[in-house]
């Protein structure tokens, strides 16, 4: 077998060079967002406990919550929440046997991506201006 030329043959797809389909990306993102949003939950629960703990505790927690860092954590968790919300609704349809075709998976993936961004912006507008 040593005399068979192998140098110019195309290699099979490998994770490092393989472009993931959009439905795979949203599936991975669903898991990631589900875990990441707990950062925002922790911040809010700390803030709630601090409110009953005392003035100094609340002042510290409230300062962190409303700082640029707190906004980053809460806004990131908010987007994660909406992404996970929409991807979770898609799972109801998956479980019922719908939207399982490749074409449907791609369309719903883009709907989840853009939908989560739109819902995050709308929620933030509601928070700051309503």
């Amino acid at each position: 077998m040593g005399d068979i030329p192998r140098g110019n043959r195309p290699l099979s797809p490998h994770l490092q060079v393989y472009r993931l389909p959009i439905s795979a990306v949203t599936s991975i993102m669903n898991r990631a967002t589900g875990h990441a949003m707990v950062a925002g939950i922790l911040l809010l629960v700390w803030w709630l406990v601090a409110a009953v703990a005392g003035d100094r505790a609340f002042a510290t927690a409230d300062w962190v919550l409303r700082s640029w860092f707190g906004f980053l954590v809460l806004a990131g968790s908010l987007w994660s929440l909406w992404f996970h919300f929409l991807a979770g609704i898609r799972h109801f349809f998956y479980d019922a046997g719908h939207m399982l075709e490749i074409d449907a998976g791609q369309k719903t993936s883009w709907a989840i991506i853009w939908g989560s961004v739109i819902m995050t912006v709308l929620t933030l507008i509601l928070f700051f201006f309503a």
Partner: protein, 130 residues
């Protein structure tokens, strides 16, 4: 020498057998449906609370609707998180690491629930006493 055949060793270890896979999936479905309702309700509640002074926060969460919605969202949400994290743990970890991760995830989830319920109960009940 092992007398047990590989087939015998694997019998009954599947997710659908006497294990808890079906129950787990159903729990995820029920908590997901609950969270579809609770998520928008919680966001509207918490959006009004952030930015209030400490006294305002204490009075706000002493009202039934904000207190109950926040408690339900955090309890059901963290329970859904614990059950969801189990899927990732089962995917990536084995043996002792898997057991430690499952125990840590359960303890973390219930600790967050306990802290949230404690804070909300203090705020809700103190208003009645005073």
């Amino acid at each position: 020498m092992r007398y047990i055949t590989p087939r015998k060793a694997a019998m009954g270890l599947g997710a659908a057998g006497p294990s808890t896979g079906t129950q787990h999936h159903w729990t995820m479905t029920v908590t997901s449906v609950a969270l579809v309702v609770l998520t928008p309700a919680f966001l509207l509640v918490i959006g009004r609370a952030i930015g209030l002074p400490r006294e305002g926060v204490l009075v706000y969460f002493s009202q039934p609707y904000p207190a109950i919605v926040t408690a339900l969202f955090l309890i059901v949400g963290m329970y859904h998180f614990v059950k969801g994290t189990r899927i990732m743990i089962d995917d990536y970890l084995d043996h002792t690491e898997r057991k430690v991760a499952i125990i840590f995830s359960e303890m973390f989830g219930w600790a967050v629930i306990a802290a949230a319920v404690y804070a909300l109960a203090r705020m809700a009940l103190s208003a009645v006493i005073v």
